[in-house]
């Protein structure tokens, strides 16, 4: 079902994304690059939670490992930074496979708890390996400089993130529309039924975990390059939660939702706080966490499909309204006939 929306929206988004760095200042471009990086990580969470039905409260751990892979690769092994990104993906993917194979046997809350432990423990474990990770002092990286004279460093880095992120989004979209995606959805909606249809449940669950860890590794690698300084303080447990909230609010189980989630994760805390600051300082202090919480409640209560789901709903309602009025159907009938569940499957 290739509706005009699904066909043209990505193209329009890509065009806007390409134009943005030339319309914005350097730091705003960098902020957008951070949003893209979060979107990549959230895409991974989306595959894991939205499509294969597992949960991770500790994806910040994979970001941390990805970032330290890049830092160690560049600083200690003198690799070009671009080469460290696939290494980070591979390393995190392997780690995700191992953890996923074990954690795949856990269900629901137990998987949540296991990944929670991972998210909490990893920064401290990395901190202990002083000789490798610089311990508490962290590792400074040379800033990414633009090889193209016409582009500033920030513009170049943003376009790099866009290219990598865009590629990964297309890859994920293809995968989810294919047999792998169908298998994941079958597993999510009923493991027994999926197994009865010949889906290897354990394999697909582990695969989802590994892929989502690899995506988080790429995001972590870029996160480290964006900050040009990798240290354990940059990966607090709150980061894992912020990513999960971003995934849910953006729209769990939707590729576009990951992009929206990335933007929300980057911009909402900053602007919520800066907007509230002139009104009430105490309120502004609480803003980053409070906004996340309120949005999560609102989305869970009123719009399970997140922002992406709402946009989709509104769009379909619009089309149906246009179509049905020509066919002479009443409003009440539209509401009952045209209702589509927010989850796009």
């Amino acid at each position: 079902m290739r509706s005009p929306l699904t066909r043209w929206l990505p193209v329009a988004a890509l065009l806007i994304a390409l134009a943005l760095p030339f319309a914005l200042s350097g730091f705003q471009t960098l902020e957008l690059a951070y949003a893209l990086i979060f979107a990549i990580a959230i895409l991974g969470l989306n595959i894991l939670t939205g499509f294969s039905g597992q949960i991770s409260l500790g994806h910040g751990a994979f970001l941390a490992i990805g970032a330290f892979t890049t830092a160690i690769g560049v600083q200690r092994l003198h690799l070009p930074y671009l080469a460290t990104i696939p290494i980070a993906a591979l390393l995190c993917g392997l780690l995700g496979w191992v953890i996923g194979a074990g954690a795949g046997r856990l269900e629901g809350i137990y998987l949540g708890l296991a990944t929670f432990a991972l998210g909490v423990a990893t920064p401290d474990l990395l901190k202990k390996q002083t000789s490798l990770t610089g311990g508490v002092k962290g590792i400074s990286l040379p800033p990414v400089t633009s090889p193209i004279a016409a582009l500033s460093d920030d513009q170049y880095f943003y376009l790099l993130c866009l290219a990598i992120g865009g590629g990964l989004f297309v890859l994920a979209a293809n995968m989810l529309g294919d047999r792998t995606g169908r298998a994941w959805r079958a597993v999510r909606d009923g493991e027994l039924a999926a197994a009865a249809f010949g889906v290897n449940v354990g394999y697909y669950k582990t695969l989802a975990f590994a892929l989502s860890a690899a995506l988080a590794g790429v995001a972590g690698s870029l996160y480290g390059l964006a900050t040009a300084f990798v240290s354990t303080d940059a990966f607090p447990f709150q980061l894992s939660i912020a990513l999960l909230v971003g995934a849910v609010v953006g729209g769990i189980g939707s590729i576009g939702g990951a992009l929206v989630g990335g933007l929300l994760t980057e911009f909402l805390p900053i602007y919520a706080q800066q907007m509230l600051l002139p009104i009430n300082k105490q309120l502004a202090n609480a803003a980053p966490g409070a906004v996340q919480g309120v949005l999560l409640l609102v989305v869970l209560g009123l719009a399970r499909g997140g922002v992406a789901g709402l946009v989709g709903d509104a769009y379909y309602r619009l089309i149906r309204a246009n179509r049905t009025t020509t066919e002479g159907v009443t409003d009440g009938e539209i509401n009952t006939l045209a209702y589509r569940p927010s989850r796009p499957d």
């Binding site: 200042s25 730091f27 508490v136 002092k137 040009a228 300084f229 911009f267 602007y271 706080q273």
Partner: protein, 491 residues
Amino acid sequence: MARSTRWRTVLLGLISLTLAACSSGTPVGGAPAAGATAAGGAAAVATSAAPAANSAAAAAATAAPTVASAAATVAPTVASAAAAAAPTVAAAANTAVAALTNSDVGVTKDTILLGGTIALSGPAAAYGTIARAADAYLHYVNDNGGIYGRQISYKYLDDAYNPAQTVPLTKQQVEQDQVFLMYGGLGTQSQTSVRDYLNSKKVPQVFVATGATTFAAEFEKYPYTFGWQPVYQGESLIYAQYILKNAPNAKIGVIYQNDDYGQDYLDGLTKGLGNKAAEMIVDKESNDVGAPDLSSQILKLKNSGADTFFVFETPSPAIKAIVAAFQAGWQPAIYLNAVSGPVPYLQAAQKAAGDPAAVNGITSVLYLKDSIDPAQANDPGIQLFKQVMAKYYPEGKVDDNFNVYGMGTAYSLVDVLKKAGPNLTRAGVLDALNNLNETDNPFVYPGIPVKNSPTDHYTITQEYLAKYDPTLNNYKSISQPIDVRGLIKFP
């Protein structure tokens, strides 16, 4: 169904509005908090400067003999600042033309824009009050004429103690807001993450709120970066000197937080004890940040036979360590690092242990005046502090000594900006910072200079040793200020 549809439509509208606000890219609420003060500047000089001078003079007159010397040095400063304010405003009209031609990014003929990042939310949110207190003091300076007629506007943003947030926020302030300098940035990792950037952009990174030795030591590599407070290694050198002199046979057990902060302290102590360190330090135990319980480490330290106990911790684990030692029946001489030393923490430890003996005689160091010490209530610096708090930061806590710290750095900043002259430039500020020599900072104990030279950036190097007396709810000094300038070795 119809009901939920309406809700969804409303919600969709709200969210698209939010998105629109975000993607427009303008920091909607980013107007400097201090911006409003510019209007009332000149008018306020006449009204609010006078009481300031009066109360300072009154304080000097009624001060106890012990603080009289301090009063003598401080009172004239406040009074003269107030007195000088009126002519300054008048003179500003003359100097303004010259200032316009020579001044730098972030400076106009009547404003100076400063940036900064600090933790206002997240795990280290308690530090946020430092920026608020500094801002309050800068408002006070603005209302007393500003600096050569210019009003200071201090825009500090929340980085939640996370370096990955410090970087974009700092770039925002440098590139979009075009601040003159970055002031009061907090957190070792956070400030390390922007040190290269700020130095490459030649933006002064002034008075970073961390005691990590690297910020003072590596000034040749990072000439635009300046610390303020005594570095952690310097503080432990002071303990080491005192111990070597007064308790050369001490058997030392150390508990330290396993991060740069705890290790910096431990390094300083080990270096300070020199070749006696291996013999004197009989055991050292560490704990991770946020460790819930320290009793196993305390038992090991007790069983090591140590009679002297060094605590290099942040306040919460420090309290746990003191209480655990008391409950284990261990009664060593306790040395507590300055970060955890303030009286409220010791009172908390006493309460938790249920016995004043747990905290009796704990030794720490002091360089900042204490806002809750009854003996200092008439000190002009503390009076000024309370006056500024009441007028410009009424929601802040007067008994939180982080606020004294914030105003102490703000006083030095104002000093530097004044010394840099009417033609305010970054080069002029660097020069003033390199030659900072302040003996009258009203928030620092008298006799302790705030001082740099082109070859030494250890700003504050002197501290008193003091012993805690639970019957007084306060410290009593047991030494003259000990100076470790020139003794700190890095790395």
